[in-house]
C-alpha cells in the first residue's frame, strides 16, 4: 500500500517518489517506513526523490532525508535528490547543511538519465 501523501511509483529498477509541498514530520516518517518496505519488495537499484515542490527544508527535514538515503544504501539502493529549488538550496547552504553523501540532480528527468551512466 502506498501512503496517500507521498506517492511512490516504480519504473523498472527505479522508484520515484514525489514529495509534497509541505514536509510535515509525521508524513516524512511514514514515508521513510513505506519506502524501505518498497525497496525491499522491489529490489530497486535507485530511488529518486522528487523535491521540486518542496518549499522549505529545515534541519529536521534535512536529517530525515539523510536518514532515508542512509537507509536506502543499506538496502542496496542509491538515492538521488532531484529538483531542489534554489531558495531551498541557499537556505540549506547557509544553515551549514550540505547533505554529504546524498546524490543530487536538477530534475527527475536528469536523475533518470544519469542512472545509465558508467
Amino acid at each position: 500500500m502506498t501512503s496517500p501523501d507521498i506517492p511512490i511509483i516504480r519504473l523498472g529498477e527505479v522508484l520515484v517518489a514525489g514529495l509534497s509541498r509541505e514536509l510535515d514530520d509525521k508524513t516524512v516518517m511514514l514515508f521513510a517506513d513505506e519506502l524501505s518496505r518498497r525497496i525491499g519488495d522491489t529490489r530497486a537499484s535507485t530511488v529518486v526523490l522528487d523535491i521540486t515542490k518542496v518549499e522549505v527544508i529545515d534541519s529536521f527535514a534535512a536529517r530525515m532525508l539523510m536518514e532515508i538515503a542512509a537507509m536506502a544504501r543499506l538496502l542496496g539502493a542509491r538515492v538521488v535528490l532531484a529538483g531542489m529549488r534554489y531558495s531551498v538550496a541557499i537556505t540549506l547552504a547557509e544553515l551549514g547543511l550540505a547533505l554529504p553523501g546524498v546524490e543530487t540532480a536538477l530534475s527527475v528527468e536528469h536523475a533518470l538519465n544519469r542512472r545509465a551512466g558508467p
Binding site: 529549488r85 547552504a93 530534475s107 536528469h110 544519469r114 551512466g117
Partner: protein, 282 residues
Amino acid sequence: MPGDRQAAREAVMRAIAGNRGRIASTWVDTQLARATPAIGGEELGEEVQAIISCLLEGLGRDLPDDRVATGHAPLREAVADLSRRWARLGASPTAIATAVFSLKPAILGCMAPQAEEALLVGRLIDAAALVSFQTYVDSREEIIQRQNRQLLEISTPVVHLWHRVLAVPLIGTLDSARAQIVMESLLQAIQDHQAAVAIIDITGVPTVDTVVAQHLMQTVTATRLMGADCVLSGISPRIAQMVAQLGIDLSEITTRSSLADALTEAMRLVQEEGRTERTPAG
C-alpha cells in the same frame, strides 16, 4: 500619572480641542511666511488638521508625554506623511522639523499656559519633530538602498556561456551584500536554464576576505544541492595566497586558473552527462 500632570494634560487637551481652527491657521500662516516648501495654504491646512486630530486622540491615551508621537500610530503616521510629502518637494530635514516645532507656539499661543503645561507641549512636539526627522532619514536610506540593489544587480550579470553552462564574471571588490546577490542570481539562473555547470570567474576581483570566501563556498554547496556543478576560475596568485593565509579550505571546490580553462572543464562535464543521457537504459 500624578494628579498635577494629569491636570496639565487635560488642560492642554481642552485648549487644543477648543482652538483647533486658530492653531491650524496660525501654523499655516507661519509656514506661508517662510514660503518653504511650495505648498498651498489649503493643503497645509489639511495636513495640520490631521495632525491636530491625531494629537488629541494620542493625548487621550495612557502614554507618557514624550511617547505620544511615537506610540500613537495614527499621529506617528500623520507626522511621517507630512515629512515624506515635504521631502518629495525638496524640503530639508531641518525645514521639516522646524515646521513641526512651530506647532508649539501655535498651541501655546491660544492658552495661558502654566509651567507644567508648557513643558508638556514641549515634550509632545519635540518628540513629533524627531519622528519627522527620522522619517526623512529613513526614506533617504530606503532610496539609497534601493539604488544600491539596482546597481548590484546590474554589476553582476549571469551569462549563458554555452549549452547548459552559465558564468558570472565578477569585477571589482566583493562585499557580503554583493556576494549574496551573485549567489542568488546565479542559483536562480541554474534553476531557470536547468544548467549543468556554473562558472564563477573572479579574475577581476582584487581581494577576498573570509566572509566573501564563505559566500563562495556556500554557493558551491547550494549548486551541488541543486544537482549542478560549480567551477571557480581566475584565482590570481595573490588571491590564492590570501585564501591560504585566511586558512580557508578550497580543496573541495573545482578551480581553474582561467575562464577559458573553466569553460573547457564545463564542456567536458556537460558532455559527460550528455553521453550518459543518450545511453539507452539497461
